[in-house]
Symmetry: C2
Subunit: 211 residues, 2 copies
DNA sequence: ACCTGAACACCGTTCAAGT
DNA sequence: ACCTGAACACCGTTCAAGT
């Protein structure tokens, strides 16, 4: 039962953390089980005691990403409880910021590197929780007359799709040439949301005209 | 100069085609240079005569995907020249259909498996052309009073983001449990676009209530 | 110009074995 | 229960060599 015969009490989380670090340093293509193992100071086959295969580690890293976003949504809910529109904007901003600041982790998390999501109950659950949190935020906007009063599920898909899509397009730099020279990331987000929101979003957008 | 000493006159395109087939059969993770080579009936190092590395093949496959979508957008432009709203809807539908019918090819194409896009001029060009085609479609809607009359570039980003995001969420099956049981894919697309379009979209949405 | 075959480093995965 | 080390099949990439 001597603790130091095992490298640490929590190799599983150490591997997840190592994976996230590798993603930050080398991108999605740099992630490998063997590298995560070596970074955790353990042999290349040790991970198989905790993860049945690479997909399982990826699913765990994805779950961690979802949890992080979900926690921030919860924080926004308390912080902006008096202002549903602001809450919606800040929720979207959490998403965009995660994408821009942790591109590889975002891709693994939200661009579905996991093939059979159903095999990972924890991932399914946090996905569901996050969807519900977003929908509740949107229902509050609907109640305040700020969004189309249709089926909340559908309005949620519409809004989430737009924010997710914007995050992806930002990651792929498919906008920089045409748009981003004139408008900052947050202004662009506000302009996109404004297309659906039925009240002016209280955030000053400055179009930088090149003169 | 005997033709049959070389396996075919056009190994480059054969490799691209082989890659697309592999994607369809085995998904993104199944794609390898060696498999594409063997499928084209050529040794595993032959591809390097045409592609500097795997990224270059991926970029070529991505370019092919973009070209296909772009061609269909052009076709829609002629077909629906009298009805800009219908054109917008069908353009979005082309995008969604490509995602659902060719998930792996769509991911490689639009979810940026290419790291340094700038290294592949053909890809940059077709990306630009596609963005322009989408923007022109949106400008026609703006002129008809169907969309917010803001900067076309920004409105384009807003609409394209939503459609791209919807395609991604559909691919990840992150909607099936909550929404897709009640509404079909096309109805969901219409409902999303309707959030931004300032006229009823002439497409009947039936909510299948479970009774 | 276009392709082959051997070679190298890296990877995911398995398995018998050790504590 | 947790980890090691050898082994296997597969991969990307390079390079000398062949036509």
């Amino acid at each position: 039962m001597r603790k130091d015969t095992y490298h640490h009490g929590d190799l599983k989380n150490a591997l997840i953390q190592a994976g996230i670090e590798i993603l930050a340093e080398e991108g999605v293509s740099g992630l490998s089980l063997r590298k995560a193992a070596s970074r955790a100071g353990v042999s290349h086959s040790a991970p198989y005691a905790h993860f049945s295969d690479k997909q399982a580690l990826v699913a765990a890293i994805s779950t961690a990403g979802y949890s992080l976003v979900h926690a921030r949504l919860q924080a926004n809910r308390e912080r902006y409880s008096a202002d549903p529109l602001r809450e919606l904007l800040e929720n979207a901003w959490v998403y965009i910021r995660f994408a821009v600041e942790n591109p590889a982790h975002f891709k693994i998390t939200f661009s579905s590197a996991v093939d059979k999501e159903a095999d990972y109950p924890a991932l399914v659950e946090v996905t569901r929780q996050t969807f519900i949190a977003v929908r509740q935020s949107i229902e509050r906007c609907q109640a305040a007359g700020l969004l189309d009063p249709g089926l909340p599920d559908i309005t949620t898909v519409a809004v989430w799709s737009q924010v997710h899509g914007l995050a992806c397009l930002l990651l792929e730099n498919q906008l920089s040439h045409t748009v981003l020279e004139r408008v900052g990331t947050r202004e662009l987000l506000v302009a996109c949301l404004q297309q659906m929101v039925r009240a002016p979003i209280e955030f000053n957008i400055e179009y930088r005209t090149n003169t």
